[in-house]
């Protein structure tokens, strides 16, 4: 489903991604791990179309070239990025924001808009399932949210927008165990044969709750090792150094 080939990204003079190859088939959950500064967040940003990088290589979603599309075009084609640092947007109600986003997706699929009332019902259903406080809807987008609340809001959005491919950028960082469980439950709930996920994480902790199909180690802008879930145990035992050493050296 997601196919990345020889992807590079340069910001200013610095090459951050240096030829990433990654294939994620439908129905699979892949984990990308790696030390600080490996380029994990840049990978997520480049896939989602953030400005500020010089990009070469290819990245396709269901065969469609992503790199030529605007961020919103990528989004309505089914790409969802759960942000490492979800942005606060003062004055914009969460409900209005989510409904506008949902309707943008529906419009792209040629579906009619969801009326406000129907949307509220739908949102409440998702929130109940994810054990999220209904008061979320009446607050401004992420404004004054705690770190954990922001991450839950990301999961709620993912749940509502039902993406083809979800990229979760360190969604687990800074969470207490309860919040981590909600995030993991959200991921597990969305794990379907039609959908793929890329979970970027720094900590193996999340992987106690979400069992990945494949694990990749990103270091110095490249995937240096890939393997099954057992790779997590190796990393936990030995750290990144033995895996990374060969790539960097």
């Amino acid at each position: 489903m997601l196919s990345i080939h020889d992807l590079t990204a340069t910001a200013g003079e610095t090459r951050i991604l240096d030829g990433v190859d990654l294939d994620v088939p439908a129905g699979e959950v892949h984990v990308v791990m790696g030390p600080n500064g490996a380029g994990k967040s840049t990978l997520a940003n480049v896939i989602a179309g953030r400005d500020g990088y010089e990009v070469t290589g290819t990245a396709t979603l269901d065969g469609v070239d992503l790199l030529g599309l605007t961020p919103e075009e990528r989004a309505v084609r089914g790409l969802f990025l759960a942000f490492q640092y979800p942005v606060e947007i003062p004055g914009v109600g969460n409900a209005a924001f989510l409904r506008t986003a949902l309707n943008a997706h529906r419009a792209a699929r040629g579906e009619p808009e969801v009326a406000a009332v129907d949307f509220l019902g739908l949102a409440r259903e998702h929130m109940a399932r994810l054990d999220i406080d209904p008061a979320f809807l009446s607050r401004a987008v992420n404004e004054g949210f705690s770190g954990g609340e922001k991450k839950r809001n990301e999961i709620l959005q993912m749940s509502l927008l039902e993406p083809r491919l979800a990229v979760l950028d360190e969604t687990d960082s800074g969470l207490d165990l309860d919040a981590l469980r909600i995030v993991a439950a959200g991921i597990e709930r969305l794990r379907t044969p039609e959908r793929a996920m890329v979970v970027i994480t720094h900590y193996p902790r999340l992987l106690d709750l979400v069992r990945p199909d494949r694990v990749h180690v990103l270091a110095a802008g490249r995937i240096v090792t890939s393997g099954g879930p057992e790779l997590v145990a190796t990393i936990e035992a030995e750290g990144f150094a033995p895996l990374v050493g060969s790539a960097v050296g």
């Binding site: 989602a48 179309g49 953030r50 400005d51 605007t70 961020p71 919103e72 990528r74 989004a75 309505v76 969802f80 990025l81 942000f83 979800p86 942005v87 606060e88 947007i89 003062p90 004055g91 914009v92 209005a96 924001f97 506008t100 986003a101 943008a104 997706h105 792209a108 401004a140 987008v141 959005q157 927008l161």
Partner: protein, 478 residues
């Protein structure tokens, strides 16, 4: 983003049509004879004529203020008409149904139907075309509650004592150049009186429309809320698209006696001029309220129109425990210039004021917030909180913040915060990642930026205003 900004110049003004209404005008120029003629047309008592002439005499000793952050060519005060009105077709209409169909059509087109049954129930309208009031709705229903809502000229005839007692009591004729000008030549306007203890049963509104060419509009609004009375009032304004600049110099006086509450909202959408800055209204307005003990005066304004806006709706917090508020959204695009803000003058003990100002500047516009918070020695326990934020859309516009804080009482607490930036890139990217187009995302962020002010508008207008905002920034952002 830049190609989006480039489209800014395409902004269209929706209300730029001109109605073919036969108009009667006084000759151009400003002198005693013109003032006498205006007074005579309104059938005014001698004292009011003297009041006007006094203002004119004082005006001649004054200079047009040039301290504000706006630029415009010299105004030739002798080269405009000071009074214009639709020529009556027969005797004055006895009921709303008899109002000239062309005038009704004009207001229908503006979305202000003058027939009561078509109007949002619960909103009474005084419609003012050029220099005169053409219709006031729901007068009978208001009268039942003891509320007087009528044109200013009618108030002079029907309630001379009230007018005489309060006219100029908040904005004296000598207050400033434009107030003096208005005092000399004001033609009509709205008058509202809410007696002690009465809560006005519906929203009141005045709709101002300039139609005639080469004509200034000088209306006067006087709102009196007696002890414990409560009223909410909204004004709206539009004008045709013309290449010339037209002057609008209004005065609004609010009198809130002890325990009274006046909420005054403005949606100002005068013709702003074209993309090159040709034409548009010069909007030089003096608005001020005086608050008695425990009284509450709240100004909310959404300013999207006019080539130049110069206005500082203010509150004199005279009574102990009185409250003043100013909520403002000012949007400037193309070549518009706005210099607007407020003055909060704390005199009474434990008075408090809140100022929330949101400026949005796009195109080649200049948008200035100018505000004074003054705490006098007597205002023990005074409180002020000011939040002034500016948003820049495009690299050729300007956003300026000129607060003045003067505190003469050590028991006062004054806080001022301000920020200026462009639309946040992270917010834009976040919205776009959720599938919103850049325009929709920007529009949503800008609306969110103004949220605190929109929340203060009467419910009936909140939706309308968001649509207006969207229209104002169309092409600029979405």
């Amino acid at each position: 983003m830049s190609e989006v900004i480039d489209e800014l110049v395409v902004r269209e003004y929706e209300f730029g049509f001109h109605s073919d209404i036969e108009t009667e005008r006084l000759r151009k120029g400003l002198d005693e004879d013109v003032v006498r003629a205006i007074s005579a047309r309104n059938d005014e008592p001698e004292w009011l004529l003297e009041w006007r002439l006094g203002a004119l005499a004082h005006l001649r000793t004054m200079e047009e203020p040039r301290w504000s952050n706006v630029e415009f060519p010299p105004i030739d005060y002798q080269d405009m008409h000071y009074w214009a009105a639709p020529r009556p077709k027969g005797p004055a209409p006895a009921s709303l149904d008899e109002v000239d169909p062309e005038i009704r059509a004009t207001f229908d087109k503006l979305g202000i139907p003058l027939a009561e049954q078509e109007r949002l129930s619960g909103v009474a309208v005084d419609a003012i075309l050029d220099s005169v009031s053409v219709a006031t709705t729901f007068k009978a229903r208001l009268a039942e509650a003891g509320v007087v809502f009528c044109s200013f000229s009618e108030a002079v005839r029907e309630h001379p004592d009230l007018v005489r007692r309060y006219l100029g009591s908040v904005v004296p004729p000598r207050d400033n150049f434009f107030a003096a000008l208005n005092s000399a030549v004001f033609s009509d306007g709205s008058f509202c009186f809410v007696p002690a203890g009465v809560v006005c049963p519906m929203e009141l509104s005045t709709y101002f429309r300039i139609n005639a060419e080469n004509t200034g509009q000088f209306e006067r609004t006087l709102i009196i809320a007696e002890e414990g009375a409560k009223v909410s009032y909204l004004e709206g304004c539009t004008a045709p698209m013309r290449d010339e600049n037209q002057l609008h110099a209004a005065v609004v006086e609010l009198v809130a006696l002890d325990d009274a509450s006046i909420k005054y909202s403005t949606v100002q959408n005068w013709y702003p001029g074209d993309a090159e800055g040709r034409g548009g209204i010069y909007n030089f307005v003096t608005k001020r309220g005086r608050a008695g003990a425990r009284a509450h005066i709240s100004w909310t304004q959404v300013e999207t129109g006019s080539a130049i806006t110069w206005k500082y709706p203010s509150v004199i917090l005279q009574g102990d425990d009185s409250v003043g508020e100013f909520y403002s959204v000012a949007v400037t695009t193309n070549r518009q210039q706005a210099d607007t803000g407020t003055k909060m003058i704390h005199i009474g003990r434990n008075t408090s004021s809140t100022i929330i100002s949101k400026g949005i500047s796009a195109g080649r516009a200049q948008n200035t917030y100018r505000g004074l918070v003054k705490v006098l020695r007597s205002a023990e326990g005074a409180r002020n909180h000011t939040q002034c934020d500016s948003l820049l859309i495009g690299s050729e516009c300007g956003a300026h913040t000129f607060p003045y804080i003067e505190v003469k009482n050590d028991g006062a607490q004054v806080e001022h915060e301000a920020s200026t930036s462009r639309v946040d890139e992270d917010q834009l990217f976040y919205c776009r990642q959720r599938g919103l187009s850049e325009e929709d995302a920007t529009s949503m962020i800008v609306n969110g930026f103004c949220r605190e002010v929109f929340d203060e508008l009467p419910l009936e207008y909140a939706v309308e205003v968001q649509a207006l905002m969207r229209l104002s920034l169309e092409g600029a952002v979405g």
